[in-house]
């Protein structure tokens, strides 16, 4: 009598749902859902991208009406910055030439250009549980797991963490699951960058005797072998440090605009 419930419709439906979900999990773990994720991701990504473009255009119209005066002021400031940056650029180019010559003369391997594969961002994780974007190329097009992902001109965006045949998922640096070994460009202070759920980056485990200051550039150190060295991560916004702490901590603003990613590049090893 107690076993009669297995012949009921309710049990059949519940059992079917249980088996369906178990199969879904197993197929996803085995990678059989790759094509389904590809297809749905493209459809959803293209549709939401089209809608987003329309909304963005409407937003721009209203924003333009309200910011014309602000643009005139900013234009003047930017023109001045261009002059300053041109001078700095000339100075840095001269330093780079000197650096290349020194490396050649010491028989070091010269800095080679990274081999890049362009990708288009077709979607983002709508659930909000992780900072992940979907790109339009996958395993068949040469994207590899754990490849670094950047935007021009060398700003770190994240890492490929999941592959499908024709699409891939990239975890952004603002996701706390991604830890990047980093170095401050000026002082050489080293530490670990970890995301703060899309709200910025925290730069942890910086030794107390290292000197860091706000506006310092933070780049990848390449020491852990996870990312190529020299990719710009961001600038230090603020520093949290007291004498009693074992390590210093800083907050870094990402250099790349991670909310408006359209085209990115995978760095092929």
């Amino acid at each position: 009598m107690t076993m009669r419930f297995i012949y009921t419709r309710t049990f059949s439906v519940a059992f079917s749902i249980f088996v369906g979900i178990a199969l879904l999990i197993i197929f996803d773990a085995k990678g059989y859902l790759g094509l389904a994720r590809d297809g749905f991701g493209r459809l959803y990504g293209r549709t939401s991208g089209t809608v987003s473009t329309g909304v963005g255009a409407t937003k721009e119209v209203f924003q333009t009406l309200f910011t014309i005066r602000k643009l005139v002021r900013e234009n003047a400031q930017l023109n001045q910055q261009i002059d300053e940056l041109s001078f700095e650029n000339a100075r840095l180019q001269s330093s780079r030439d000197e650096n290349t010559a020194l490396r050649k003369s010491l028989n070091f391997k010269t800095n080679s250009n990274l081999e890049l594969l362009p990708l288009e961002v077709i979607g983002a994780d709508p659930s909000g549980f992780s900072q992940v974007i979907t790109v339009d190329k996958g395993q068949e097009e040469g994207v590899g797991l754990n490849n670094a992902v950047i935007v021009s001109p060398g700003l770190l965006v994240g890492k490929v963490t999941s592959l499908n045949p024709h699409s891939a998922q990239v975890t952004l640096i603002t996701d706390p699951s991604l830890i990047v070994s980093a170095v401050v460009a000026d002082s050489g202070a080293q530490g670990l960058i970890q995301g703060e759920h899309g709200l910025g980056l925290s730069f942890n485990l910086i030794s107390q005797n290292e000197v860091i200051k706000t506006s310092d550039n933070v780049t990848t150190s390449g020491l852990a072998g996870d990312f190529p060295p020299g990719l710009l991560i961001g600038q230090i916004d603020s520093i949290k440090s007291s004498g009693s702490d074992l390590f210093q901590k800083a907050f870094v603003g990402p250099a790349a605009d991670l909310r408006n990613l359209k085209f990115v590049f995978v760095v092929k090893p």
Partner: protein, 169 residues
């Protein structure tokens, strides 16, 4: 035909969330498909609520970075909880207060279920890394706020679709 309309509505809500709300900075908070599931469970028959929960769960599973099945299980947990509360605990005609309570309970149950099920999957190395303190802290507060704001528009959408289906049949 009814089920096709449900799938289309869920897809449209998903696109609306990322395409429109995402552009306004609200894309990562709240969940319009979850709201639609909650309202369907409260106002429609169990079978329709079950189908809506499964369809929304599978869609979100395919679009998100979590392991496929995680969000589907969470949606079913929400379905079970809200159905139990409406039919066994409250057992009276729905009013605005009950709607708000169910949306709050449903949103909390959804986040807790995702975290718990991901933990279970992590025991067999199938889950992903999720920061449960963030999901059940700041994100949950944002989700509750956004879901309560959009509850009434989604309710109107559900009523509009229901009237369209009734006028056609």
């Amino acid at each position: 035909m009814r089920y096709l309309i449900i799938i289309f509505v869920l897809f449209a809500l998903l696109v609306l969330q990322t395409g429109v709300l995402g552009n306004l900075g609200l894309g990562k908070a709240g969940s319009l498909p979850l709201l639609y599931v909650l309202i369907t469970v409260m106002l429609a028959k169990f079978r329709q609520g079950l189908f809506t929960a499964l369809a929304a769960g599978v869609m979100l599973d395919l679009a998100s970075a979590t392991r496929a099945g995680t969000i589907t299980v969470a949606m079913l947990a929400v379905l079970g909880l809200v159905y139990f509360v409406i039919n066994k605990v409250i057992t009276r005609e729905l009013n605005r207060f009950i709607l708000v309570v169910c949306i709050i309970l449903g949103t909390i149950a959804f986040s807790v279920s995702v975290v718990l099920f991901n933990r279970v999957l992590n025991l067999v190395n199938l889950g992903i890394m999720l920061d449960w303190r963030f999901i059940l802290g700041r994100k949950l507060i944002l989700d509750l706020t956004v879901n309560l704001i959009f509850a009434y528009p989604i309710l109107l959408l559900y009523e509009f679709i229901r009237r369209q289906k009734l006028s056609q049949s």
